[in-house]
């Protein structure tokens, strides 16, 4: 059984890791997840990876204009999603959170429709791909300007606190975001208010081409938590169970009113920054290959195999099932048809103001 006391200590020197590279459980406590929950995590890792591959394929086919690949981030993201309460807690994500959004309940068809800008996108085709959102699921619609969503997460958390809802807000972002002024403004406010918010950094060591050592002189992103009066943890983000268990403990702490937390997950972006990027200009191939050997899917599959919960047949079955689901979702998203021109003038304000009515008329008549 899991211990009652705190399992993890903040400001740790070595990243928290629970599964070894060979798939062996190395945690200092007993697993308390049942086989269905463990298989469910693996399912979500695979869905994220295959969605990512599909989006890149659709981009090469010209059906999607842009993709921000998130392969390599799945372990951190799925661990987080499974530690949250779906439909209760809030996500303020960024554009490289494919697995997080899907594991938190975003329908596959919505992600694909957003990427292809069809009528099935509840965001009505207003943004470039990789910018989802869902009011029903408490997923704040993603915006491109880096770190600009972090202060809104703090505001939502302050609202949760003053209304006593027991909810938790999570803002996710890359390590590049921690250089923005708004990041510091947000953490500072959260610390002063003791707001129930988790800052979840997916540190993949590159903000497009700028590497970690050009981003900050700090030894870790987690260390920055010190200055805002909150604990900071560094987690092996290629280990889905490390992410899950740390986030479970952190979220419980935050939910109980003990104030905000910064968690840094160490991940790696297997692909380029985006479909418009050429990462061979700045990352040695050997480095990419070395990280791919630490693939969060591979590591967790080895773990499941060692636990006697997985084999080749199960793998083949799952992949076929997920591909079929994604194929159906793609067809459904595409069949919804393109966004009509006249939608351009809606949702600027609650009602269409006269000048927008006039401009709509000018365009359409």
């Amino acid at each position: 059984m899991i211990r009652d006391s705190q399992l993890f200590q903040p400001f740790n020197d070595e990243p928290i890791s629970l599964i070894g590279e060979t798939g062996a459980w190395e945690g200092p406590f007993d697993l308390d997840l049942d086989p269905a929950a463990l298989r469910g995590m693996y399912h979500d890792l695979v869905v994220g990876r295959l969605m990512d591959e599909r989006l890149s394929r659709l981009q090469r086919q010209g059906k999607v204009s842009f993709v921000a690949p998130s392969a390599g981030h799945e372990g951190a993201q799925v661990g987080l999603a499974h530690a949250l309460e779906r439909g209760r807690d809030w996500l303020f994500p960024y554009y490289r959170d494919t697995s997080l959004l899907l594991a938190f309940g975003l329908p596959q068809v919505e992600m694909l429709a957003q990427a292809m800008a069809t009528r099935a996108d509840p965001n009505r085709g207003r943004q470039m791909p990789s910018h989802n959102g869902s009011k029903d699921l408490n997923i704040f619609t993603i915006a491109s300007p880096i770190a600009s969503h972090v202060a809104p997460a703090v505001g939502a958390a302050i609202s949760m606190k003053v209304q006593g809802t027991g909810q938790v807000a999570v803002a996710s972002f890359g390590e590049g975001a921690t250089s923005e002024g708004d990041f510091h403004a947000a953490l500072n406010f959260a610390g002063a208010q003791g707001a129930p918010v988790v800052f979840f950094c997916e540190n993949n060591r590159y903000a497009i081409s700028v590497d970690y050592n050009h981003q900050t002189g700090a030894d870790s992103i987690a260390a920055k938590a010190h200055a805002y009066g909150m604990p900071g943890y560094t987690v092996d983000g290629m280990d889905v169970l490390a992410s899950y268990y740390v986030m479970r403990e952190v979220i419980e702490r935050v939910r109980n009113g003990l104030g905000p937390v910064l968690v840094e997950t160490l991940v790696y972006r297997f692909g380029p920054h985006s479909s418009a990027d050429d990462d061979s200009r700045y990352r040695p191939r050997e480095e990419v290959e070395a990280w791919k050997r630490r693939d969060p899917l591979l590591r967790f599959r080895r773990f499941l195999e060692k636990q006697g919960l997985w084999d080749d047949a199960a793998e083949a079955h799952l992949r076929a099932e997920v591909e079929a689901s994604l194929q159906a979702a793609t067809a459904e998203a595409e069949a919804a048809g393109p966004i009509p021109v006249e939608w351009m003038f809606d949702d600027v304000f609650a009602q269409r103001l006269p000048h927008l009515e006039e401009q709509r008329h000018d365009l359409l008549d």
Binding site: Q127, D136, F140, A151, G155, A157, I158, V162, D347
Partner: protein
């Protein structure tokens, strides 16, 4: 009715709205025990406590960003930016997040919040306590912009802004905060619509159009013209997004001569938008080209605080020009 200054009216209106709707919260620097540096949130902390009157860190990005998150989560925040000159660290939050949330989410989310900010010059504050940045906000799709000039209008429009489901930039002419007292309606339902210009003076010879802080000088010019036997029709726009094109175009069509007054810098200023609209919609009814009387395209100066503002003399010169055209 109660006789109040504009700044007293703001505090009282916030109090009324907070009493009516517990979702309304106030946040900003010094809004708590201090009651705001101008006392626009006076006594609210005593009445509503720290959960609803939130003293923020000294960070406009945090204030506006957090206000958005509160709004998304069901509150109706009224954020105070201490001077409009200090909104710029929070400008990205306004432009990238607040203004675009409804649009980018396809109408799933909305941002019912108000960002109040004292604006305008004439207070010996130099360029960092005197500017008129309204054009930035009007130019940002998704923001409504209100800029009243009287205590009663402030009450009616602030109430409308707080109850609005869209984000509103509420600009307050700080040199008029205590310049005038007037009877202000106490009715807690008294509200005014946007895009409804007020006729401050009826006239037939020339149309003077202004808003916010510059209304005081525009009205003085109207008085001076009356003494000279010139009858000015003076319009106070009260809101800039949306604005009352109908009242402007009707007055211009009737009179044919128009002077536009704003203390914001001339180039790209809001009154240029009015002039362009008049040129597009009413050119054949004009008897003279529209003339702008504005601040200059310099940073707002300190030593020449009064000369920078479009005072009555400069307005009268412009009127002479359109009358003699």
């Amino acid at each position: 009715m109660t006789v109040q200054t504009m700044v007293q009216t703001i505090a009282r209106t916030l109090d009324q709205e907070m009493a009516r709707d517990e979702r309304v919260v106030v946040l900003g620097q010094d809004v708590g025990k201090r009651g705001g540096v101008f006392l626009a949130t006076e006594k609210l902390f005593d009445t509503y406590g720290p959960d609803r009157v939130i003293d923020s860190p000294l960070s406009e990005a945090a204030i506006i960003g957090a206000a958005l998150g509160m709004a998304v989560h069901g509150l109706r925040p009224v954020a105070e930016i201490q001077f409009s000159d200090y909104v710029f660290p929070g400008f990205d939050q306004l432009v990238s997040q607040v203004a675009k949330l409804r649009y980018r989410s396809g109408g799933q989310f909305e941002a019912p919040l108000v960002v109040r900010m004292p604006a305008g010059g004439g207070v010996k504050g130099g360029h960092h306590h005197s500017q008129s940045p309204e054009a930035h906000f009007v130019h940002t799709a998704g923001l409504k912009v209100v800029y009243p000039s009287t205590p009663s209008d402030t009450r009616g429009l602030l109430r409308t802004a707080i109850r609005d489901d869209d984000p509103v930039v509420f600009m307050e002419p700080k040199r008029l905060y205590r310049a005038v007292k007037e009877d202000v309606p106490d009715d807690p339902e008294f509200a005014l619509p946007y895009a409804q210009a007020a006729v401050r003076r009826e006239g037939d010879d020339v149309v003077l159009i202004s808003y916010g802080a510059s209304m005081a000088e525009t009205l003085k010019a109207g008085d001076a013209l009356a003494e000279q036997g010139v009858s000015a029709h003076v319009l106070d726009l009260r809101s800039l997004m949306p604005w009352d094109t109908t009242a402007v175009l009707e007055a211009v069509a009737r009179i044919g001569r128009v002077v536009l007054v704003s203390e914001a810098p001339r180039t790209g200023g809001f009154v240029s938008e009015i002039a362009a609209t008049i040129a597009e919609e009413a050119l054949d009814q004009l008897l003279a080209p529209p003339v702008r009387v504005t601040g200059f395209d310099t940073p707002y100066p300190y030593a020449q605080d009064r000369e920078y503002l479009p005072g009555p003399n400069r307005i009268l010169k412009a009127v002479k020009r359109v009358l003699e055209y």
